[in-house]
């Protein structure tokens, strides 16, 4: 072996670069970790743990009842269609924690400017954040139902055959996916305005709760026409979920009288509009740090 002195000095990276797709993937994974408090101190896991726990809690209770009191199944006391109503507050709170946590902090800390100085542009930044938040939202919109269907099947209360089982899982994924997309878009759009994550959280919850109450007052108290319910995104999203799951609840309210196809289309439209508004907002947002 010959003796040499290697002049290392400064060397530019000449290797392969992973490109924008890898940047999007990295940012999405980072956002997911941040929402779930992964690789952070234990206190950052409390909020996601509470909300995810509440999202699964009705499923655990329902499975327990079905397993230990089989007779209750004959009376159809437990309905899959009721599930959204049970966990809607957990969904609102989870959205109110997730979206502001990964968006407002980027603007206040100056990270948004750094991201935009990377291969990411405004569109791919929004895409990455959407993927990250959406993926985690599936934990509360899809996972509990899939868990419920699997557990029901194991205790003998689930769908009859393999085809029905697969169909039920597919319905849960589609229904939960649309719901997750809409909540993610709404959460991201609202979070794109205030710089304080707390204000964004309040605004998200207010945007969920107020239309529900106002629409109920108008249709049930003021005899407004049923189509007024289309102006309440949380109601439409919940109803669309029931229809897609295949177990719509009918309490003879205005929401229950709406055409199911229109409700599903409206939910998809809401998801598209919220995501589109978020994209539009980030094209115009001023990056001052």
């Amino acid at each position: 072996m010959s003796t040499q002195i290697h002049d290392l000095g400064y060397r530019a990276y000449a290797g392969e670069r992973a490109g924008v797709a890898w940047a999007v993937r990295s940012l999405a994974v980072h956002s997911m970790r941040r929402i779930l408090g992964l690789k952070r101190a234990g206190k950052h896991k409390i909020v996601p743990a509470i909300t995810i726990g509440f999202a699964f809690l009705p499923a655990i209770v329902m499975i327990g009842i079905a397993a230990f009191v089989p007779a209750v199944n004959e009376f159809d006391i437990i309905r899959l269609g009721d599930y959204f109503g049970f966990i809607s507050f957990a969904l609102f709170l989870f959205t109110a924690a997730a979206a502001p946590g990964v968006l407002t902090t980027d603007r206040t800390s100056g990270m948004l400017a750094l991201y935009l100085a990377s291969p990411l542009n405004r569109t791919t930044y929004v895409l990455a954040k959407f993927i990250g938040i959406f993926s985690v939202m599936l934990l509360v919109t899809v996972a509990p139902i899939v868990f419920l269907q699997v557990a029901f099947t194991l205790v003998g209360s689930g769908p009859g055959g393999i085809v029905d089982f697969v169909a039920s899982i597919a319905r849960a994924i589609v229904a939960g996916g649309i719901l997750a997309a809409a909540l993610t878009g709404l959460g991201m759009f609202i979070s794109s305005f205030p710089k304080r994550w707390g204000i964004a959280s309040v605004a998200i919850v207010a945007t969920m709760l107020i239309p529900i109450i106002v629409a109920a007052i108008l249709t049930e108290g003021a005899d407004a026409p049923d189509w007024v319910m289309f102006l309440s995104p949380p109601d439409i999203l919940g109803k669309a979920w029931e229809h897609l799951i295949g177990d719509p609840v009918n309490n003879s309210l205005a929401l229950d009288r709406l055409d199911s196809t229109l409700v599903v289309l409206a939910a998809i439209a809401y998801a598209a509009v919220f995501v589109g508004l978020t994209w539009w907002r980030y094209q115009h947002i001023e990056v001052d740090r």
Binding site: I199, I210, I217, G221, A222
Partner: protein, 249 residues
């Protein structure tokens, strides 16, 4: 130990609390927050106009229910969340609390000033729309109970949310959790849980004052007056304690 003695300094609360109050109040009334509060208040009045236009069998019942479902259930707690939690919480987050904390006054002066700033900012924003809403219904017997419920609601929620903002980094989200989960879901399941819901005391005031039966109104009349005030006193005391014990950045 050193023999150098400090100058005697006594700053009365009459001097310090207004000084704290001016600094705190100015910082909270931003355009965004005022807009949000205005929207919340405007919805309250709008709903009452709509309700008034409906020919309903029991106007008094509908009026009280409407006030309870929106103004009591949402307007008061959401408006308070917007102002109370960030009052000191934002100063902690921005590392500005040091400029108010490192002063030769007991910590309770700062806690009381912050609470006063929240309440005085909220009272006109919340009570006025609620009184107007009650007046719009045409049910004269609703105005006084609604005013009372609004004032006591602001008093109670302000203390609670001020404390959450100081004690916890996620204080505002915890406030939302209390509002959404406890007050709107769990307190409906049992009377025991409802005792921990401020809303139940405010609903009781509405029910007792109007003789109109509404849900979540099973509290005793005397407790509906005293508990919101007690919540505020305890919360402000806990806020002062938290300010005295926490490390300041």
């Amino acid at each position: 130990m050193t023999a150098v003695q400090p100058r005697p300094t006594t700053i009365s609360p009459v001097a310090s609390i207004p000084a704290f109050y001016r600094v705190l109040l100015r910082g909270q009334l931003t355009r965004g927050r005022l807009f949000g509060l205005g929207v919340l208040a405007g919805i309250s009045i709008l709903l009452m106009f709509v309700g008034r236009g409906v020919a309903t069998f029991d106007r008094e019942q509908a009026s009280v229910q409407l006030l309870s479902d929106y103004s009591i259930a949402l307007l008061i707690p959401l408006a308070t969340l917007i102002l109370a939690t960030p009052m000191l919480g934002n100063l902690i987050e921005d590392r500005l609390l040091v400029y108010l904390w490192l002063k030769p006054v007991p910590r309770w002066h700062l806690a009381v000033a912050a609470y006063a700033a929240v309440v005085t900012a909220l009272l006109p924003v919340v009570v006025v729309p609620i009184v107007v809403s009650a007046a719009i219904t045409g049910f004269g017997g609703l105005i006084v109970p609604a005013t009372l419920a609004a004032v006591l609601g602001v008093i109670a929620y302000s203390g609670l949310y001020l404390f959450l903002g100081v004690r916890f980094t996620w204080g505002l989200w915890l406030g939302l959790l209390y509002l959404v989960l406890w007050e709107n879901v769990l307190s409906r399941f049992s009377n025991g849980m409802a005792r921990l819901s401020i809303r139940s005391y405010l609903n009781t005031l509405l029910e007792q004052g109007t003789d109109v039966s509404i849900p979540l109104a099973e509290r005793a009349t005397w407790s509906s007056f005293l508990i919101p005030i007690a919540v505020a006193i305890v919360a402000v005391a806990l806020t002062a304690r938290a300010l005295a014990r926490t490390d300041i950045e």
